[in-house]
């Protein structure tokens, strides 16, 4: 119970993340953009292998993605052209979201911690790529719907096993 109300943060957050994954997996990028707040920040910091007990493995200055609304719209616009060769033919992606841990910070603001596994296969080779990581998201309630306000993805990989990161995490 939060303030006398049922604490549904986990249910709300999981429903949001599952719906978001479905939109991305189905190439519904414009619908996905509609889930993002104008002030959206998405960051995927570069990770390096370090000895236990020393500095953080995650960089504060270099990223695989460091996106705002403008750059995300640019990336989506590119996918809509006939010349985005890395995604034409499209990657076939399946985003698995689990281990959702969410809490209301305010009645309109949920902090979410979750796991992501991105399975991706391309062409007819039978090979696949997998990226996994932990996401820290903030969802905010605006106009009676939750939107993504910010996201940081802490990948498990230091050296990405992907020919290019042409998909959203």
């Amino acid at each position: 119970m939060v303030g006398g109300l049922v604490d549904d943060a986990g249910i709300v957050a999981e429903r949001f993340l599952v719906r978001e994954a479905r939109l991305l997996d189905d190439d519904r990028f414009s619908d996905w953009l509609a889930l993002l707040r104008p002030e959206i920040k998405i960051r995927v910091p570069v990770r390096q292998t370090r000895t236990v007990g020393t500095a953080s493995e995650f960089s504060h200055t270099t990223f695989h993605l460091d996106e705002d609304r403008y750059s995300l719209e640019m990336r989506v616009a590119r996918l809509a052209t006939d010349f985005a060769w890395a995604e034409n033919p499209r990657s076939r992606c399946r985003r698995f979201v689990s281990n959702v841990d969410a809490r209301y910070r305010t009645p309109t603001d949920i902090a979410v911690d979750s796991y992501l596994m991105l399975y991706r296969t391309r062409g007819d080779s039978g090979a696949h790529e997998i990226l996994t990581g932990r996401r820290e998201d903030v969802l905010v309630l605006v106009d009676e719907r939750f939107h993504l306000h910010s996201r940081t993805v802490y990948l498990d990989q230091t050296t990405l096993p992907v020919s290019s990161l042409s998909v959203f995490l």
Binding site: Y70, S71, R78, F83
Partner: protein, 435 residues
């Protein structure tokens, strides 16, 4: 494989596809190319303090690059002299000494073996001649304008001799402010299909691909160039400079047009020798946009809009580390002038990331080309097919720029196979006469 026929064919303007995917070619390159040439390990600013280290690679040889107690940077094989264990198993960090996890053989920051448990009872009353068992330094190591290089061949020419006249251009790119460049942070690393030669050829001479491979980025207005810029005046929009051991492509842009802020532009002019400074200024500005140093070090001086109307330039450096016949690990850094405003550094990093690097909208499509070419060439029949390298070379060679102020030969176009031909000739020469 007949090396002499490859040479003859290249002289006529073709190369067989299999060189981009053949396991035998890859196996020979490991010793004949990467075992004998100067390889870039990164930038000195990655190890600013004594004890800082990073682990870097030449092919599969891992090197500990570390700043020693006196402040000097050195590179050692990441191999314990006792039983061959890797000394550093983290890729970066800070240490006061290096201890092998296997038997605790201990080395100081300068590579000296300082500790061997049970030394006297185990190795006799005199102990071990520890001076003979320090970490093995790489055969040759050198730094030029902050770039750290190593060579596995003790008989190879020294770094400065190897760079030759190319150093004039490295100065133009890496030493245009008093403090020079620094990395914006750790490099992005990712594993992509494709062969290191194809990526290198793309940077050493292939400006031709940009208008179509990267068309999406121009269509959406992210890239400051339009399709018309890339085709304006036929192919006369830039200058290709062939200067051993590499080449450069210059575009007709001044630093301010590229998006550099006025304080940095002024610093470039105040720092560079007059000849180089003139190259970057009106009335005939030239901007070094693609740079390649044999075998596998490339730079790109690009730009994009990080917000509507806000064009920001960047300089990326990348090493195409060969890890298989048709796969490479890309190491990609962003370099920025140390004097630059912190906000410019941040935006420059973003401009890079939007267009190049692991998620870059332009790099994505480059990776697609290189991966696809390597894949297609694996078939014995397709691998035997000849690829064409005759654009604006030999009888069609573009005019030489006779008043070019720098060393090497400058051609009045960047659309030519001159650089690719040079790289493959050099590569065939390194691979030796019979294989």
């Amino acid at each position: 494989m007949n090396a002499s026929s490859l040479r003859d064919e290249l002289a006529r303007g073709s190369i067989r596809g299999y060189i981009y995917s053949d396991p035998g070619v890859f196996a020979r390159e490991r010793t004949h190319v990467f075992g004998k040439t100067w390889n870039c390990l990164g930038h000195e600013s990655e190890v600013p303090l004594p004890g800082d280290y990073v682990v870097r690679y030449i092919g599969d040889d891992a090197l500990i690059v570390t700043r020693g107690s006196s402040g000097e940077v050195r590179a050692f094989h990441n191999v314990c002299r006792h039983r061959g264990m890797e000394i550093c198993r983290a890729e970066t960090g800070h240490a006061t000494q290096h201890v092998c996890p296997y038997h605790a053989w201990t080395y100081d920051l300068d590579g000296h073996l300082t500790g061997v448990p049970m030394e006297k009872p185990g190795y006799g009353p005199g102990g071990l001649q520890k001076a003979d068992f320090g970490l093995l330094p790489v055969a040759q190591f050198g730094i030029y304008n902050g770039l750290m290089f190593a060579n596995l061949d003790p008989a190879a020419p020294a770094l400065r001799a190897w760079l030759g006249d190319f150093a004039w251009y490295l100065d133009l790119v890496l030493a245009r402010t008093p403090l020079g460049l620094e990395v914006t942070g750790p490099p992005q690393r990712w594993i992509t299909g494709g062969n290191w030669k194809m990526a290198s050829e793309n940077f050493i001479g292939d400006s031709y691909h940009a208008a179509f491979t990267h068309r999406s980025v121009m269509e959406i207005g992210l890239h400051p160039n339009t399709m018309r810029d890339w085709t304006k005046g036929g192919n006369r929009h830039g200058v290709h400079v062939q200067v051993e051991p590499g080449s450069l492509g210059f575009t007709r842009l001044a630093p301010a047009q590229r998006g550099y802020p006025a304080d940095l532009v002024d610093l470039f002019q105040a720092t560079l020798p007059p000849v180089q400074a003139r190259l970057l200024s009106e009335p005939e500005p030239r901007w070094p946009s693609r740079i390649h140093l044999y075998p596998n070090l490339s730079f790109l001086g690009g730009a994009c809009y990080v917000a509507p109307g806000v064009q920001i330039p960047f300089l990326t450096m990348r090493v195409w580390r060969p890890i298989g016949p048709a796969s490479m690990e890309v190491w990609s850094w962003v370099l920025v002038e140390r004097e630059a405003h912190p906000e410019f550094k941040r935006l420059s990093q973003r401009a890079y990331m939007l267009t190049f690097g692991s998620s870059g909208t332009e790099e994505q499509d480059d990776a697609e080309n290189w991966t696809s070419i390597a894949r297609a060439s694996r078939g014995p029949s397709a691998g035997a097919m000849e690829q064409l390298l005759t654009m604006n070379v030999a009888q069609h060679a573009p005019p030489v720029v006779t008043d070019w102020p720098g060393p090497g030969t400058a051609y009045d176009t960047t659309y030519a196979d001159i650089g690719q031909r040079w790289l493959l000739e050099r590569w065939l020469s390194d691979m030796g006469p019979e294989w």
